[in-house]
């Protein structure tokens, strides 16, 4: 779960990391209520997607009037498909240099990894890759190991020591607060030598919700930002990503859902979504909101139900389909391919409501593509 920059910085400040003294301007706040002590300031659109800087989502403004103009425009602009509900206004920094520091969960490190680059900024992905310190379990962080690694790329030893102390703080905090990523880019050296986190991205582990009221609240807020159809799906633990196409995919299991999406594309169609229903109840209660959402989505022309179940038993899924179809209003065609545990009982149930179960993903996808308007 990606946090907004302003929330990420609040978290950093709570563990003693130096961040700019920012002010938050929420959509709808009266301009007069937004206090700014001195200019120039940076106005920063608070969105969860990256690349905002290159889209004009960070602007330097020199006075109050310019601030209000910039804010009005930013509230009306989409950055990576997302309009900001919050702007962060921060004093413009006297930057001496920019570097990059992040702490992230990493499979190869069997835990956390620290990444550092002496050059930070927007083009970090294009430059020399950051150096890696594989920490593993957070209690294995070692100041002297990181120092050894940084010595090779960072010659300013006073700065290096500050970075090391900060990295130690970040690893500790990531573990303490179930963060999967804490990225500071740029990590700025001010003209007085002090270190400050000029921008910050923090992602938290949603599965730690049971031990974090903040993560729990963020999950609820995420649902709150969704439309009612999607919210009903999220309430069922379904995982959804909207795509550009017209074939809605209701599936189970992340890999198999992507496998079906890819086959749709391969056969000339275009998937309308990734919709993995396996984490929630694979019952009528679970599938109902999935159909409701896709039925209501004008982009979706056909629905492909592709489920290959192990613990999920196919006779139950078939029965759920029968029940959902019985109450469904939409006439969008539905193509089925159920396979897995007890699949031999599916045909009998499908017969009861005139549905056909495809024996293979290929034939099911081919039919869906055909119904959606044929291969393009």
């Amino acid at each position: 779960m990606m946090m907004l920059e302003c929330d990420a910085k609040r978290l950093l400040a709570s563990v003693g990391v130096n961040v700019p003294a920012g002010t938050v301007w929420r959509r709808g706040d009266a301009a007069a209520s937004v206090k700014v002590e001195s200019f120039p300031v940076a106005v920063k659109a608070q969105v969860r997607s990256g690349g905002r800087g290159k889209q004009g989502g960070v602007q330097k403004v020199a006075d109050r009037a310019a601030l209000e103009v910039a804010a009005k425009k930013m509230f009306d602009t989409e950055f990576g498909g997302e309009k900001p509900d919050v702007l962060l206004i921060e004093p413009w920094l006297a930057i001496e240099r920019e570097s990059y520091l992040s702490v992230a969960v990493d499979g190869r490190a069997e835990g956390y990894v620290v990444l550092y680059s002496p050059q930070g900024g927007m083009d970090i992905e294009e430059g020399v890759p950051p150096v890696r310190y594989e920490v593993g379990a957070p209690w294995n962080f070692r100041v002297h190991r990181l120092r050894e690694i940084l010595e090779k790329v960072e010659s300013d030893y006073q700065w290096r020591e500050k970075v090391i102390a900060l990295a130690q703080r970040l690893v500790r905090s990531a573990a303490a607060q179930d963060c999967t990523t804490i990225e500071i880019n740029p990590l700025v050296k001010l003209s007085d030598g002090a270190l400050i986190a000029a921008d910050a991205k923090v992602a938290r582990d949603e599965w730690a919700h049971f031990r974090s009221a903040e993560i729990n609240a963020e999950r609820e807020a995420e649902k709150g930002r969704a439309d009612p159809y999607l919210r009903a799906c999220l309430d069922m633990q379904h995982m959804y990503v909207k795509l550009d196409g017209d074939i809605g995919v209701i599936s189970g299991g992340a890999g198999m859902t992507m496998g079906a999406m890819d086959m749709i594309a391969e056969l000339g169609g275009s998937p309308a979504c990734f919709l993995d229903c396996s984490p929630g109840p694979t019952s009528t209660r679970g599938y109902r909101p999935a159909f409701a959402m896709l039925d209501a989505d004008p982009a979706v022309k056909v629905i492909l139900v592709s489920v290959f179940g192990g613990g999920t038993q196919m006779q139950r899924v078939a029965t759920s389909m029968k029940e959902v179809m019985a109450e469904r209003k939409s006439s969008k065609p539905v193509i089925y391919r159920l396979d897995g545990t007890n699949v031999d009982q599916v045909d009998g149930i499908f017969k009861e409501f005139g549905a056909h179960n495809h024996a293979t993903l290929e034939t099911a996808v081919a039919e869906a593509v055909k119904l959606a308007g044929g291969a393009r």
Binding site: V105, R108, T180, F210, M239, M256, F308, L361
Partner: protein, 291 residues
């Protein structure tokens, strides 16, 4: 032969009195898994089916010789239960649970390493050595004994992939789900090493996804001298960058984590890469032909 699991494993089930635990006892026993004990604090002395229930893993191991644990407890309890199994001497511990916090997975992985145990999970269908035993809910008809080792990041994709090769007459030594989370009890590298050592495994099928860096292990293995032949499928060609596709690790965070980059990396390393599910059998045959 097979890796990790065969008829010699003496399996205990933690959380045996729950719904999943009870279903597993019945389903896995039917397949041939050697089920010897259940663990459920507070329910010691009862039975699930004919499996005796004990208060702790240590007692269950002592009383029944159990050496392998299957964990069915809620996500917040997986950490405690898996470490109990590891530290009570189980050599293989499987936790299928999704929704396990990654920090907990990190702790379990560290404990497994410290104790010389193998942890498979989390967020995995488990593993099956066809014709011998299974630890998971995979549909048994998808598998048949043979000489291919299968490694998968995703559950149902491993059913689909295995069924395809099974129908094509290609059997498996073991099919292991390494899971969709970023920190894995058993990584692709470790599963590859096990298959590499297994004399009955002639070739390997790797079923991967966009996101994360697991596939670099596969490329590294395939490019190493003396490596067994590897076929692979990477799903997520149509997945957009920056979005989590169900699995925590299935998120394209950089170009290297995208579909094209992964396919290229694998091909460059000599892996037989299927371009979509429809080509899995073909890629597998090509790999076997080289094996």
């Amino acid at each position: 032969m097979s890796i990790l699991l065969d008829k010699s494993n003496r399996v205990l089930i933690q959380g045996v009195t729950g719904q999943m635990g009870q279903f597993f006892v019945e389903d896995a026993r039917k397949y041939g898994t050697n089920m010897v004990a259940g663990v459920s604090p507070g329910r010691a002395g009862t039975k699930v089916g004919d499996v005796p229930v004990f208060a702790s893993v240590a007692i269950a191991c002592k009383e029944t010789g159990a050496d392998t644990a299957m964990v069915f407890v809620p996500p917040s309890a997986v950490l405690g239960a898996t470490i109990e199994a590891i530290e009570s001497g189980c050599r293989l511990v499987v936790a299928t649970a999704d929704e396990m916090p990654v920090l907990d997975a990190i702790e379990v992985r560290a404990a497994a390493r410290a104790n010389g145990a193998v942890f498979v999970g989390p967020n995995t269908p488990g593993l099956i050595s066809p014709g011998k035993a299974k630890m998971g809910f995979m549909p048994s008809f998808c598998y048949t004994p043979g000489n291919v080792g299968v490694i998968s990041r995703s559950g149902s994709l491993s059913y689909e992939g295995s069924k395809r090769i099974t129908l094509a007459g290609i059997g498996q030594t073991t099919v292991v789900g390494i899971g969709g989370d970023p920190v894995k009890g058993t990584t692709a590298a470790e599963a590859l090493a096990l298959f590499h050592k297994d004399p009955d495994t002639k070739a390997i099928l790797y079923l991967g996804e966009i996101g994360g860096s697991e596939e670099t292990f596969v490329a590294e293995y395939a490019a190493s001298s003396g490596a067994k032949a590897v076929a692979a499928l990477i799903v997520g060609k149509t997945a957009p960058p920056g979005k989590k596709m169900g699995h925590a690790a299935a998120l394209i965070g950089s170009k290297a984590e995208g579909h094209a980059a992964k396919q290229k990396m694998l091909r460059d390393a000599g892996v037989f890469v299927a371009d979509g599910l429809g080509q899995v059998v073909e890629a597998m045959r090509a790999a076997l032909a080289r094996a």
